[in-house]
């Protein structure tokens, strides 16, 4: 068959298919089965509209794991003033004097009000504010280096330590939650050799003790 005939047959087929799709085929029955009950209530013109597929989900978000912690509409985590005060106490009451000496200057550090917003952003990126207190810089660098010595990735070590800065003076629990999440990530992603080293790492043990103590004041 010549190509031109082939082309005509193809075009004719397309035209017929289009006509069958678009043009009404005359009056037909509207049955009274449950398919059409009440008019489009259960028929297959609705398809997935009768299921969860037919409605987008805008409800993916964090769910509080404690009766004492509330997820606010903007996603921030809040608790009562009493619990916030307890949090400060818990962070200061580490198990040994040496642990307290390691962490107290960091978690108790107070950012001046005008620096708070910028510092919060910078801390969230795992960095310290450029104009940080020299003593704070020394202490955080010391803590982070100790973690790196045990094999923790430098970026994670710096970020974990930066999340501890000013932790006992926070207006909400966002930073504590982020610190716990990152701490758990370090545990999950570290090799058995690194974990063994961390068990005897005074900085990591101090951080672990402080975070566990802070978490313990919030119920499940």
């Amino acid at each position: 068959m010549p190509p031109s005939t082939n082309h005509r047959s193809y075009s004719l087929g397309l035209a017929l298919a289009f006509a069958a799709l678009v043009l009404p085929l005359g009056a037909r029955a509207q049955i009274a089965s449950p398919f059409n009950a009440g008019g489009n209530s259960g028929n297959n013109s609705l398809g997935s509209s009768t299921t969860s597929i037919g409605t987008p989900d805008f409800s993916r978000g964090p769910v509080s794991q404690s009766k004492d912690v509330t997820v606010e509409p903007d996603g921030s985590l809040t608790t009562s003033p009493e619990k916030l005060a307890e949090l400060g106490e818990a962070l200061r009451s580490t198990s040994s004097q040496s642990q307290a000496e390691l962490l107290a200057p960091v978690v108790g550090f107070s950012l001046r009000n005008q620096e708070t917003e910028l510092a919060s952003i910078t801390l969230a990126q795992g960095l310290l504010p450029a104009n940080s207190n020299p003593q704070l810089l020394t202490q955080t660098t010391k803590l982070a280096n100790q973690l790196v010595d045990s094999g923790v990735e430098p970026l994670k070590a710096n970020k974990l330590v930066s999340l501890l800065v000013g932790l006992e003076r926070q207006p909400n629990l966002n930073q504590l939650s982020d610190a716990i999440t990152l701490f758990n990530q370090v545990i999950r992603e570290s090799s058995p050799e690194i974990l063994n080293s961390l068990r005897t790492n005074s900085a990591f043990v101090a951080i672990s003790t402080a975070l566990r103590s802070a978490r313990s004041i919030f119920g499940s």
């Binding site: 509207q30 009440g38 209530s41 259960g42 509209s49 969860s52 805008f58 409800s59 985590l77 758990n184």
Partner: protein
């Protein structure tokens, strides 16, 4: 060394309650989506007894990347041992997908293939838009979706006509809102009558939705007002939990 119990956890969201009261949504099944819905309707003016039916389907393609095609089909009557039924197709595209709202367009062809002893049923075409957006911040964990559907179609999407129903054109529209992550309330015009629906997703981890629909509330059609109860299961087999 044990992890510390987190303060918050990201849990799979509740399956969305159904916000489409007998009105098609333009958010259709994509590749990986499949569903089945069982329907039971009370007796009406044209049917002395209650009856049931089911519809199932799956999606092909992606409505966000290009277009999705949904293939669906089912039987028309449990009482008649599925002696009649048909297949339909829908094609859809998500036009806007932002955290502030989704807009989609879809067109459908019902009864493209049909079988049974009740004779030829109308070829039913429809096309419409759906817009859904959160009333609350998404980060709250409950976005509270509000969804609006609107479109046109022929046959059962048009006011009742005793003859030549296939040529009748009508419009449909509905509005629905989530009252909680698992409960939705919706109402609208199916093209043939006024509908209202209460829907409930009873389990967070099971993609099941129960819906109770009051159809043709003002008794404007020969079939009359009926109550329709449906149980649907719709999920994506590409993910372990409901997306």
């Amino acid at each position: 060394m044990d992890p510390i119990p987190p303060l918050v956890a990201i849990k799979p969201p509740w399956p969305s309650p159904n916000l489409n009261p007998g009105v098609p949504s333009a958010f259709i099944a994509n590749w990986g989506d499949f569903y089945i819905t069982g329907v039971a309707a009370t007796a009406g003016n044209q049917r002395p007894d209650g009856d049931g039916s089911f519809v199932g389907g799956l999606g092909l393609g992606s409505a966000t990347k290009a277009v999705a095609v949904e293939v669906n089909g089912g039987c028309g009557s449990f009482k008649d041992f599925c002696g009649n039924g048909g297949l339909g197709f829908r094609i859809g595209r998500v036009l806007i997908k932002k955290p502030t709202g989704w807009l989609a367009f879809a067109a459908g062809w019902q009864n493209a293939v049909q079988w049974g002893y009740e004779g030829d049923q109308d070829n039913i075409y429809s096309a419409g838009f759906s817009y859904a957006f959160p009333l609350r911040p998404i980060k709250s964990g409950f976005g509270q979706t509000l969804q609006i559907n609107a479109g046109i179609g022929n046959s059962t999407f048009a006011p009742y006509s005793a003859t030549n129903s296939e040529d009748q054109i009508g419009g449909f529209a509905s509005i629905g809102v989530e009252l909680s992550p698992a409960v939705g309330l919706s109402a609208g015009w199916s093209g043939r009558g006024a509908n209202a629906q209460l829907s409930y997703s009873p389990f967070r981890n099971i993609p099941m939705t129960l819906s109770l629909l009051g159809a043709d509330l003002f008794n404007q059609n020969p079939a009359g007002t009926v109550a329709v109860f449906s149980v649907s299961w719709g999920t994506n087999y590409l993910t372990p939990n409901f997306p």
